[in-house]
């Protein structure tokens, strides 16, 4: 056994824009153990349910994260709508699906850029963010905000997207996807990318499942689990299958995201083709009663909204289990046995969002 050293990694680190800390126990440069610490900026947003009524709380939910904000709002609304026994209009379900998939595209391309930056591929980072910017432009044109959509509400959608605008988006997506397709080969086939990702941070199928991994972290290890399979929003009407890779390493997790972007382009096109006419919201009466776990697939994986109502306008309990929180335990296993320079790359492949984790 070599000399053991403990290296502190984070909470301020060049590849980590948010505070997570790891105590890395090293033998020479090999990581033999990693102990994570979070909780530096815990916000306690869940308790705001006690002072914000259930209509207002969607604004809190959207602000849990600045990247997957829409799906946070959607998950919360779906939970409360279930408690209220509300059937959301079909058009609202399709609008939610379109906005959710736009979120997934911009989140994954943002991550691909950050990942490229983490292993020193600056030009690839800039190309990714250039393409992502065009998706954010569509979000701004349809929702009014670039980060916070403000488009989901209990009972449906706060605004419609006119059909002629949807047609324009479909045409624009063709252009954006062509630009995105120029980036894909670099992630999939470039030798310098593969040398930093193939066989690094491996998590077996059994480990990923047993440790409760979610999202691309789980699917990159060969487990075909994607909560969109539940058929919420418009997903039950669309043709798609979970993206699965079997390597279990950093490369497989990257490939899952690369392929999921392509699938999201397709899902949006399908949704635009099939979106029905009609209202986008229904009148909401009464107060939430009972309890429900609302589960959705965010870009980073399964998110769980637990809502418990007591027939008042304030929820008795509002709890969010975010994807990054679930992926902390798998991360500990991925890091064991890796070399120190690979730590930032491995950490990034769970796409950590500490803003979500510190809800």
């Amino acid at each position: 056994m070599g000399t053991r050293t403990i290296i502190p990694f984070g909470p301020q680190h060049p590849v980590l824009p948010e505070p997570i800390h790891l105590d890395l126990v090293l033998e020479d440069e090999k990581v033999v153990e990693a102990l994570p610490s979070v909780g530096f900026v815990h916000r306690g947003l869940e308790r705001l349910a006690e002072v914000k009524d259930f209509h207002e709380l969607v604004y809190v939910a959207e602000r849990i994260c600045g990247i997957c904000s829409f799906i946070h709002g959607q998950g919360y609304c779906q939970g409360v709508e279930t408690l209220l026994n509300i059937e959301v209009p079909a058009r609202a379900k399709y609008l939610r699906t379109i906005w959710a998939e736009l979120s997934r595209i911009h989140s994954h391309i943002l991550w691909l850029g950050l990942f490229a930056d983490a292993f020193g591929f600056e030009s690839l980072f800039m190309h990714c963010w250039r393409v992502r910017e065009k998706i954010v432009d569509i979000i701004e044109a349809t929702a009014g905000g670039r980060v916070i959509f403000g488009s989901c509400k209990v009972g449906g959608a706060r605004r419609d997207i006119p059909n002629d605008v949807l047609k324009g988006i479909k045409a624009e997506l063709t252009t954006i996807e062509a630009e995105y397709n120029e980036l894909k080969p670099t992630f999939l086939h470039d030798n310098s990318v593969k040398r930093r990702t193939v066989g690094i941070g491996t998590l077996s199928k059994e480990q990923a499942y047993a440790l409760g991994a979610v999202g691309p972290t789980l699917r990159g290890s060969g487990v075909a689990s994607d909560l969109r399979t539940l058929g919420y929003a418009a997903y039950k009407d669309l043709q798609w299958e979970p993206v699965v890779e079997h390597g279990g390493d950093c490369y497989s997790r990257t490939v899952v995201r690369v392929r999921e972007v392509t699938m999201s382009f397709d899902l949006i096109r399908q949704a635009i083709d099939k979106i029905p006419e009609g209202p986008v919201d229904v009148k909401v009466t009464g107060n939430p009663t009972g309890e429900f776990f609302s589960r959705l697939e965010q870009p980073r994986g399964e998110v769980v909204y637990y809502v418990k109502g007591n027939n008042t306008k304030f929820l008795e309990r509002f709890r969010i289990r975010t994807p990054t929180f679930a992926n902390i335990a798998p991360l500990v296993v991925m890091l064991k046995g890796c070399e120190l320079p690979d730590v930032p790359v491995i950490v990034l492949t769970i796409d950590p969002c500490i803003s979500c984790t510190e809800r």
């Binding site: 102990l35 610490s37 979070v38 909780g39 530096f40 815990h42 306690g44 869940e46 308790r47 705001l48 006690e50 002072v51 779906q78 709508e81 279930t82 026994n85 509300i86 059937e87 959301v88 499942y209 047993a210 440790l211 409760g212 689990s225 909560l227 399979t229 539940l230 058929g231 919420y232 429900f292 776990f293 609302s294 589960r295 399964e302 769980v304 637990y306 418990k308 008795e316 309990r317 709890r319 289990r321 929180f325 679930a326 902390i328 335990a329 798998p330």
Partner: protein, 123 residues
């Protein structure tokens, strides 16, 4: 409905918790989440599991003057994050916890903030 998914909740005694968790593990479930709800005199702790999109829960009710729970990390190592959260936010003492931060998982200005009542102004 917006989303219909059967979500059974099985009430169990805390002494049976590790054994029940082991049963879920053996049956091939994965741990989805653990959360607590603060009641007037009780704490309700819910453990959620999933297998092939079948979602099920088990629930333990604790009296606030006796909030000790056995850990399920013996079956589900991933539970250590949730159980440390229960300790820090709700003051629930977890025994046999595989990775125990001893109240330092979250760095907070006050101890057990989720036990503070709304009327006291903490929320």
């Amino acid at each position: 409905m917006t989303m219909i998914e059967p979500q059974p909740v099985i009430a169990i005694d805390r002494a049976d918790l590790p054994e029940k968790a082991k049963e879920f593990f053996v049956q091939g479930y994965r741990l989805v989440q653990i959360c607590a709800t603060n009641g007037d005199s009780t704490l309700e702790v819910t453990y959620s599991f999933d297998r092939d999109y079948a979602f099920t829960n088990m629930r333990v009710i604790l009296q606030k003057d006796d909030t000790v729970l056995p850990s399920i990390t013996g079956s589900f190592l991933a539970a250590f994050t949730y159980e440390n959260e229960l300790q820090d936010l709700f003051g629930i003492k977890i025994t046999d916890l595989a990775i125990n931060y001893n109240g330092n998982f979250y760095k907070m200005a006050i101890k057990t903030p989720f036990l503070v009542n709304k009327s006291s102004g903490a929320a």
